[in-house]
């Protein structure tokens, strides 16, 4: 093996990105437009997340995406220290918060701006929008 190839810098790790399905595309389109859209059953009106073809309450296949409120309370969290994906090595440790949204579903997203010591179940947070490229915007939680 030559010295040159041994010294070659490895490629920068790429962020894992979502591959939207036909069901979830409207959710990701909403985030890109800065809107938190959730899937509601057109028949019984119940919300469901993550997006899927059939309402598990009334079995209707008709649904619509509507804007939902951004507030919620902490359900649980973890602080990720070990970067299982090398992309996240530079930002570790980071907090991933699981939030009971006021809209009646949960959302998992990174939590920014609140120190670990201040986390407790029920603490209020707000969903924000973090564009990562032209196509994809990810949810992020910040203080309400």
């Amino acid at each position: 093996m030559s010295q040159a190839s041994a010294a070659a810098a490895p490629p920068a790790p790429e962020r894992p990105l979502p591959t939207p399905t036909r069901e979830s595309q409207p959710y990701w389109d909403g985030l890109r437009e800065g809107r938190f859209l959730l899937q509601f059953c057109s028949s019984c009106g119940k919300v469901r997340h993550y997006p899927r073809p059939v309402c598990p309450h009334c079995f209707s296949m008709e649904s619509e995406f509507r804007e939902a409120p951004l507030g919620g309370g902490l359900h649980s969290w973890t602080v990720c220290h070990h970067p299982f994906n090398f992309f996240f090595k530079a930002s570790a440790p980071y907090i991933v918060a699981l939030v009971d949204m006021d809209a009646g579903v949960r959302v998992n997203a990174q939590l920014h701006g609140i120190p670990e010591a201040e986390l407790k179940i029920g603490r209020r947070v707000k969903l924000g929008f973090e564009p990562v490229n032209e196509e994809v915007t990810l949810p992020v939680f910040v203080a309400e």
């Binding site: 962020r15 894992p16 990105l17 979502p18 591959t19 939207p20 399905t21 979830s24 997340h49 993550y50 359900h75 649980s76 969290w77 973890t78 602080v79 990720c80 220290h81 070990h82 970067p83 299982f84 994906n85 992309f87 996240f88 930002s91 440790p93 980071y94 991933v96 699981l98 579903v105 949960r106 959302v107 998992n108 997203a109 990174q110 670990e116 407790k120 179940i121 990562v132 994809v136 990810l138 949810p139």
Partner: protein, 386 residues
């Protein structure tokens, strides 16, 4: 009415390879090596195996067993894609196959190059159930089980006061048991201080709360009790067995209760099938992908109430000589990670009286659990024939 499966099938053979970090063998070779040992243990001619349930994804398909072991007439080939719950769920399927006459002898096998081959975050891409996590959670930096299960553990700590000290107790006791077993990856004593000083992986899980990435193979043979009676080893029957799947099976985040997983549904069915309760269990091999997972399963199984699992594991209760010895072989935390088939092997040894220095005195009835794939839960209750 007595359940038609109760005690009608038996674990007739067990086999395992060395558990190591580093191997030149393939996952398939490890499975075949363990399978040949299990067949020898049972005294069954390899060609007479007619059902094969290999672990998926694990480098082998049932056809590989025809090619390598010369099976004459394979009548059942199946994968059970339930992650860590696979091996014990396979016991249920095998028991159904041998009691109905579809099969004579079903081989359940695992071969894993978890250390020398691909690691956990790569392997997970092959699991169908992880597609949802790949879309919604991997982009935010959350994909590995240590991360996905950490939020449930944190919630348990917040709601019930469960502590890292109690997590450590599971790790320390499991290591003590591993040291009594000659075939383990981790053979040096572990202290509570070692546990607390180990690096944080995904809070609240430290390194020593996590199971091993290791290489090894394991295999178990299930036969009808009527046939197993005449085989080489003491009879160990399957008194009860069940699998269960949680609500919101592919997304822990959306699960109504993060702490309710498949075992909530399967455990009562298995106990009812066996006609026993938690008080009848002499030894338990609990799927230990994480220390906390053991604590929560002990609650679900009814050894204590929800919220009491932390205190339950303290004061020697789960150690050899205690009220409920668990993971007497060292488990996934210290022996090796073959997706819990090593737990089935150890329980069988305990009930045969073959567990050596880790033998639980007069062990007659024991249970083994599987847990994985975001929370599927399987269970088998085995007993020594009277």
């Amino acid at each position: 009415m007595v359940h038609p499966l109760r005690d009608k099938a038996a674990v007739s053979g067990i086999g395992e390879t060395a558990y190591t970090r580093g191997t030149t063998k393939s996952g398939l070779a490890l499975q075949l090596e363990a399978s040949l040992r299990a067949l020898d243990d049972a005294g069954i001619d390899p060609r007479d195996v007619d059902g094969v349930i290999p672990y998926f994804p694990g480098g082998a398909i049932a056809e590989d067993f025809i090619a390598n072991l010369g099976l004459k007439d394979l009548t059942l080939s199946a994968f059970i894609p339930m992650g860590g719950a696979t091996c014990v769920a396979a016991i249920q399927m095998a028991a159904m196959a041998v009691t109905t006459g579809v099969c004579k002898h079903v081989l359940i096998s695992v071969g894993r190059t978890g250390y020398s081959g691909s690691r956990v975050s790569t392997r997970l891409q092959q699991f169908p159930v992880f597609a949802q996590a790949a879309e919604f959670e991997a982009p935010i930096g959350m994909f590995a089980p240590a991360q996905l299960y950490a939020q449930g553990a944190r919630r348990h700590m917040e709601l019930y006061g469960t502590t890292a000290r109690q997590f450590a107790e599971v790790a320390v006791v499991t290591r003590q048991h591993a040291i009594l077993n000659g075939n383990v990856v981790m053979n040096k004593p572990l202290t509570v201080e070692d546990h607390h000083a180990s690096r944080m992986i995904s809070d609240p899980f430290r390194l020593f709360d996590c199971s091993l990435e290791s290489d090894g193979g394991a295999a178990v043979i299930i036969s009808a009790t009527e046939r197993a009676k005449d085989l080489r080893k003491p009879l160990v029957t399957i008194a009860g067995t069940a699998e269960g799947h949680p609500d919101s099976p592919a997304s822990i985040a959306q699960r109504p209760d993060l702490l309710e997983f498949g075992l909530v549904k399967s455990a009562p069915r298995a106990f009812a099938m066996a006609g026993v309760g938690p008080k009848d269990i002499d030894v338990a091999e609990i799927y230990d992908c994480f220390t906390f997972t053991v604590i929560r399963q002990l609650e679900i199984l009814g050894f204590c109430k929800t919220g009491e699992g932390g205190p339950f594991v303290m004061d020697g209760r789960i150690a050899l000589g205690g009220e409920l010895p668990i993971n007497t072989h060292g488990g996934l935390l210290s022996q090796g990670h073959v997706v819990g088939l090593n737990h089935v092997i150890e329980l069988t040894r305990q009930l045969r009286g073959e567990a050596g220095k880790a033998q639980v005195k007069d062990a007659e009835t024991g249970l083994v659990t599987g847990y994985g794939d975001m929370g599927d839960g399987s269970i088998a209750i085995l007993r020594r024939a009277a």
